[in-house]
């Protein structure tokens, strides 16, 4: 499951997770809309090792700025709150799970 969170939950939940993947997106962004069911499928696959979150950049401009999100969709992978890697744009399921697994 991909959990939609705001700035506060980002600090308390996403940053505390062993491994977190945060999907920075917006309601008006076409590729974001397409990525969301794909990420949902990835979360079914890797949910026991990785926590998945979604952040709306319109509602959380500070978070987007902090993580230097300049193009969306943008997936940010963190370990215990520390930035590890990011993936920009739509990608198929195998590519995303491969990218996450490669960073575990």
């Amino acid at each position: 499951m991909v959990k939609k969170i705001d700035g506060q939950a980002f600090q308390t939940e996403a940053k505390a997770a062993d491994v977190a993947v945060v999907d920075f997106n917006a309601t008006w962004c076409g590729p974001c809309k397409m990525l969301s069911p794909v990420l949902e499928a990835v979360s079914e696959e890797l949910g026991d090792k990785v926590s998945f979150y979604a952040v709306d950049v319109d509602d959380n401009p500070d978070l987007a700025a902090e993580y230097r999100v300049q193009s969306i969709p943008c997936l940010v992978l963190m370990k215990k709150g520390a930035f590890v890697d990011q993936s920009i744009g739509f990608k198929p399921q195998a590519a995303i799970s491969g990218w996450i697994s490669g960073n575990l």
Partner: protein, 291 residues
């Protein structure tokens, strides 16, 4: 067919490869969605004379196109005139962004021809980090900042005008000759762009003998490279990587014609279109047995 229902095979491109794929898929009784131009292919119609197309000795491109059109008409194949800007591999189907519509198909055949022209120096390296291909996607992230737009066709002026509404400064670099019509909120710079650079965390557009600073640069082209059209697709230079069955690196997605490589010949493209369609039919059969 109704465009709202999922097609068996979506074919993108109306040159010899795409048309032959559509004809073969129709013979095999598949629901086909053919996207392209009603003028078929500019490369084809502009060809002065083609000497090696079987059955048509020394034919003018325009006449061969007429023969292709007659073949389509006879089989009742219609062309949907929409530009496909993205193909998303959703797992068991594909979503195609075609103009404002989102279309669906179980398989996709790419037959868009080869994209001429290379990216600008510094373009690929900074993609997502100061370079964007989609003004409407990333507009909210540049609100209140100075941006630059490198436009390859007059159509992109609308995107620049839109950015002018939300950004204090918009520089527009037309990469084409002719009139540019834009509101006062956009500054037109008629200098040829030679490259993009990152300087002190900002982007710089190199044009003429100057560097123009911008928070983000939008590079807007008519034709998109295959890896950009289909995110996640494996490519080799300007070409899509395929095997002899015309299968790409993405299951269910096939490619044929100039987009898969040389020789850029009409008869070779048509032959590959035939293979791609038969491979797509085989893939659909496999899917049916799995379900």
């Amino acid at each position: 067919m109704n465009n709202m229902e999922r097609a068996d095979i979506a074919i993108i491109g109306t040159g010899p490869a795409g048309l032959e794929a559509a004809i073969t898929a129709t013979i095999r009784n598949k629901k086909v969605l053919l996207l392209g131009s009603r003028d078929l292919s500019r490369k084809l119609t502009r060809a002065q004379e083609i000497q090696n197309y079987l059955g048509f000795p020394a034919v003018r491109g325009e006449d061969l196109a007429k023969a292709f059109q007659a073949h389509l008409d006879q089989m009742g194949i219609e062309i949907l005139e929409e530009r496909v800007s993205a193909v998303y591999a959703m797992g068991d189907y594909f979503a195609l962004q075609a103009g404002e519509q989102m279309l669906e198909a179980s398989t996709v055949i790419l037959a868009t021809g080869v994209v001429q022209g290379k990216p600008l120096p510094g373009e690929s390296e900074n993609l997502g980090h100061g370079v964007s291909y989609c003004a409407t996607c990333d507009a909210a992230l540049v609100r209140g900042k100075g941006v630059a737009v490198v436009g390859y066709s007059p159509k992109e002026e609308a995107e620049a005008a839109f950015l002018g509404e939300i950004c204090p400064e918009v520089l527009y670099f037309p990469m084409y000759a002719g009139e540019v019509s834009l509101p006062d909120s956009v500054t037109v710079v008629k200098e040829k762009v030679t490259g993009l650079e990152k300087r002190d965390g900002q982007m710089a557009v190199l044009a003429g003998d100057k560097a123009y600073a911008a928070a983000s640069v939008f590079v807007l082209r008519d034709a998109v490279a295959p890896g950009q059209l289909v995110p996640g697709l494996e490519t080799e230079g300007a070409h899509v990587k395929v095997n002899r069955r015309m299968e790409s690196s993405l299951p269910g997605l096939f490619a044929c014609g100039d987009i898969v490589g040389t020789p850029y010949q009409y008869i070779k493209a048509a032959g590959e279109g035939n293979i791609a369609a038969l491979s797509a039919v085989g893939y659909l059969e496999e899917m049916k047995h799995k379900a």
